[in-house]
Assembly symmetry: T
Homo-oligomer: 155 residues x 12
């Protein structure tokens, strides 16, 4: 049952599918951790961070959807189940319980920095096999780098 | 570091916190599986299900947020990290890859049925210790039972 | 052909189904009579009542939909056909033809008073078998009692 | 008490009032049966029909209001009470209980076909006595014939 | 300088232009008198009438624009200057100064009744020469008759 | 019947009422002439002027309403009937029939210039007796002078 | 395969179907030529025409949809494929390449004039067999004649 | 003059009326103090608090309206005059003049904590006599506890 | 702790601060009494007044905020606590319990009249020391005088 | 008459213009065939496809506009006339008359597949001469591939 | 080429033009410096200031437009070119590079204070020659003083 | 103080920062000159250009913000102060005073042409060091080239 024909040849498809699945895991886990911090953050900057984290979560969710739908569009199956996330995520995890506002800023800055590094590798990897996918990854990276700046600026 | 004072006594708080954390895991995992199906579903009913699943995901995300914010409001820490989801979820998981539309309907109907069963146990459990939390769980259950009917009606 | 599985046991389901069907008839008939008055009212307060009646009709229609969808969600079939309404309604009917504004206020106040009384009986009846349904009936009753006050206040 | 003066002479008024009252009964009963099917439909096309039926109900309600307000505007009293509907409706009724999706399509197609036939007779009947009313009936018929096509197309 | 070519022959154009100019004067004067009453009305029903009159004015202005633009579209020049209104209006004028609410209802009801009578003559007059214009006049008449009922109903 | 008590003493009221009535006539007649040109303008700049004139009319109508409601608020009766307009307007009138775009610009520029001159006299006249009314007239004048520039700039 | 039953008898249906198919071709070709001019127009009036042409295209597309859906509603198949348009269109075509603004106004005025002429023939043709279709054609013609004026006025 | 009939018996009504009047005073005084802090707060967190306080005020005003309208709906007269507030409020008052941001957080957290404590007593008190009122108080308490967390989290 | 530097000299600031604090008390007490009447009014005009009073309350609240924020902007501390209102208000208070619609109109008309009188004194007082504050007071007075007329007109 | 100067050299302009004209024909013909199917589709999936096809048409129209405006922006004349479409389209045509839902899915899937293939050739062709145009074509291709998946998924 | 006639005499015009040009330079430079800080600010309060600065920029841009359009309306030419700004600005400039959040608050507070001082001089200067312009300057000053408070409050 | 870490190596960062700073100056100066023309343009095309220039200004402002925020996101400091603009702008300046509409079109066309030429050099320069920035510059260039065409087309 391989329902969707791909506009790419098998080899290109394999590379692009891997890049998209990697991005999907990064973005879904970012959305879960963003919410985790949104709920458990405490400190003087609570309200400001509480709101900012929700914007990051909203962006992460929307980008995840774009990435996953692009995967199916090239005939690959995105996998965003919790077990897959838990097993394959490369995102550094937060501790359970309350998190101080300063720590939230530091941790999320690092998380965004590492996701951006992997996104840039994926941009390179997809350049040849599929400029259409590359274009999507570039746009997402631009947005993540903006959120990275906006978090780091308040360190 | 136990920042938020609770309107409940310790015992009541423990029971209510457990109910809310259970609901949180159910709802977050429902949102992930709903998206998984939203992306991988195929079959004649593709478009109709693709849209319906997104409504379920939207509801699950909103309810999860309400439930987690209620947890902090009573001085408990919600935990929605992917590893926690993967380890503690009681939701029956979907297979990877394409899923036939009929199978999506059947699987999600069962998933909603089991979540509803657990939600009703939580409604009972919170009746005594915190009617405010109970009220939230009742409203969410009503919505989940409606989605359950709307899926099952097309079996 | 009993398509929808119920979250309730058969006995509970029977009691709750009866309460919901009773509420459905009350609310649908209220929407028809509200429109009847909306069209046929005359008098100095015409415009005010004409608008107020449409708000009551809108509320009645929305509550009727909630109640009927709740019925299916617990595996019972709502019946809102005109013959069923005509045969089983307990709502006091309006005369045909023009209705004076004072009479509209008096008649609708009485109608809402009697519906509220039956709704409160249904709230009691569903307390044990299904708190989820009870919660719906409570919310509807609150709204009906508000409309009752707003009509009676202009007597 | 005949409050509203008519722009029509008594004879014309009588013909036009009859056409409008007939249309009102047809449209109100269509709205009740559309909701009845909206709630009780089951089958693979559930969601699609559930949504489509609500559009038909919304149209029927709006047209009923237009028709009834036109009646008062020409000095006649519209009657939309449940007993009047039950006694005078010419619309073929649905059975109680669950209705299969295929059956819903077939039954509603027939219902719309018969209402359209009566509406066209009313268009002819009002041509002479009141072109203003005729214009309303023409616009409603156009909309009903569109809904008729959209249902029949999925048979 | 006869800039716009007409889709009508000269004779038809002449009849239709006269009907449209007559309607324009009726509608513009209605909008001025509606405002006059909107400002100067006093009495227990002040607020209700104040709002209702603004709806009549809004309708009159929109219909006047439709009618005037229709005139140019058939190659005739609409004339809506104050001197033309003052000289050719057939609308019964209001007294200057405060107007009691009851008197407002009575006067505007009569004004609308007389405008409707002239509109119906225009509908007949344009039936043969231009069904397109007639369609516009029918729609406007329907709206005016509705406003007439809504005023008269509160007498 | 002098229903509304005035926050001003009789003398002040008299001066202010005269200023407001003058402004009302100017603004209502501007709205009528703006529409007259909106309909009858022809030439290369037709569309641009057609739209711009509607913005002037909208502004004139809104300012007229403000001015008239201010009059009643100080216990004076505004008079905006067509005969009053025709008799007392100081606005230079347009010819009937098509108007060339260049001529529209020239004529309306002059009209606005003369209205502005009279408005500035009213600003001076109301300075002492009622700063509240003066503030309204100042705001309207600012808007009219802006429209004056925007018309004149395209000469 | 003649899926949709017609509310018209075969003869009436044939006449009405022909009128609707003719209108469809006129309107779709108008939308294509409107866009052609929207892109290729140059001259001092560029911006004004560029915007106005898009309004004409939007109107043409919407009317085309109405006309085609009416065709299916009476059991006839609309045909809007490019080859059908090219073969059967009676609309005078534009040259390729840049088009001067003056020429655009002249050409589109003529195109609208000829379409209106054919629409009026269709209004007459459908009067007897189907007043519902006629009503649609009348409304479309009114709009086209308005656009005709608005173009011609700037010649 | 006891205009509104109550759905409750006199005893139940008395208990419920007291609970509602108590809630009204708490909520209105919260809205006044929230504004007081909104205006007089200074410090690094000024902007964040200035906005957050307005959300608390908006919530308090809306809840106060709900509570007061519920009172009339059960036939009791809500009293929200400034003298009543000043005499009966149990809310701890703020000092006049500038308030440091840290102090605002501390004071409002305490105020919300004490209001929540009283609201929970009212929830218990109304359980028996009127579940409809109880439902309203539960929903308000949930919202207040959420605001309490959001303030305390930034201590 | 005198955080905000003033654009005014000390003497001017003192006069202006007094005017603003006076206006704040007037406006906040108006908002409380408006709500008091909004809830307790009865009589034929109930609905009309119920809605109108809410518009007055909304205006009073918005003006109060403007006035208080202006106070801080000139370096003065607004005081809107319930005890301050109760002690310093010059607004005539309403009785507790139901209020007849006629009485509501009369009482609120008087209240607005007295507030307007004080506002006009404040306009005079601030003319010299701060035209910016005066401009705010003028705009608020205009709005209050409009509401005064609209209430009085229905006496 | 070559009005618009190009940011590209003549050779680059020629290649890019050809790619854009090819894309324009593909997209306009897709919009016409999408509508053709939107109107003539029948079968169980009618409603779902009817809506989905309109989304494809909306996308095709918007992309066509982007592509044509890009052409003029580089100094080339887009040609979207029906005769040009009929002569140069490479899109496989649909038969006239009713089309079964399954056939619609299959035919449109193939059409999108072939358009995507040509778009990818154009992406390659424009890479060197104009990365700005290439970026537009990439974005359009991404959207078309998404629609391709969404159609094929329901085969 | 002095296209726009002035409602002011030459002398008055000269004074008013100077005031408006001074305000224009102040406001445009404020918008540039606000953006400069919006981009380069760092520190714990980053997000809060980043948002607040954009509100100041939006206000400055809107006020600049009002001031410039007022200039043309009185027949004077506003000059907002970068060289004019650089040469004539009296606003204290920011250093290049990152700016600490505390420093941003201090610098912008000072900048607003000095602009307000000059605006108040302009209010005085225009009082005699043009109350209409004065009114604009008063409204802008009020807004700037509010922003001044909101910045200074967080020092 | 170099707060933001860069995703680029120092060399790449230097090249990209220069490209972004150059774009920022171009876009900010375009926004200032666009406004300069927006205010001072005169001639028959006044209104059309007045509106079109505001769209160019809005685009320039939004692009400037994107470009400056991208600069900080890669760890570089954007500089948009008036002195920097005046010193480093390469945009050809407009004369002070009224500008004829024809001259505005010519001057702005040239300005856009030169900015586009520089943007294309920046696209090439950033291709290697940072495809994310390049993507932003490409999108902006596309928009500028569209505005260039729309201005030039009316020459």
């Amino acid at each position: 049952m391989s329902a969707i024909t791909s506009p790419l040849n098998p080899e290109a498809q394999k590379v692009v599918a891997a890049a998209l699945q990697g991005a999907l895991v990064d973005l879904l886990d970012l959305s879960l951790l963003g919410k985790q911090a949104h709920w458990n953050v405490i400190g003087h900057n609570f309200r400001s961070l509480h709101l900012q984290l929700d914007e990051i979560v909203a962006a992460a969710r929307e980008h995840a959807d774009t990435v996953a739908e692009r995967a199916v569009a090239i005939g690959a199956n995105p996998d965003g189940r919790s077990s897959t996330l838990a097993k394959t995520t490369e995102v550094h995890q937060l501790e359970a319980g309350y998190i101080n506002d300063g720590k939230v800023v530091a941790a999320l800055t690092d998380i965004l920095e590492s996701i951006v590094r992997r996104m840039r590798e994926r941009i390179e990897a997809t350049d040849e096999p599929d400029p259409v996918t590359q274009d999507i990854l570039i746009a997402i990276t631009q947005d993540l780098e903006k959120h990275h700046w906006m978090l780091q600026a308040q360190r």
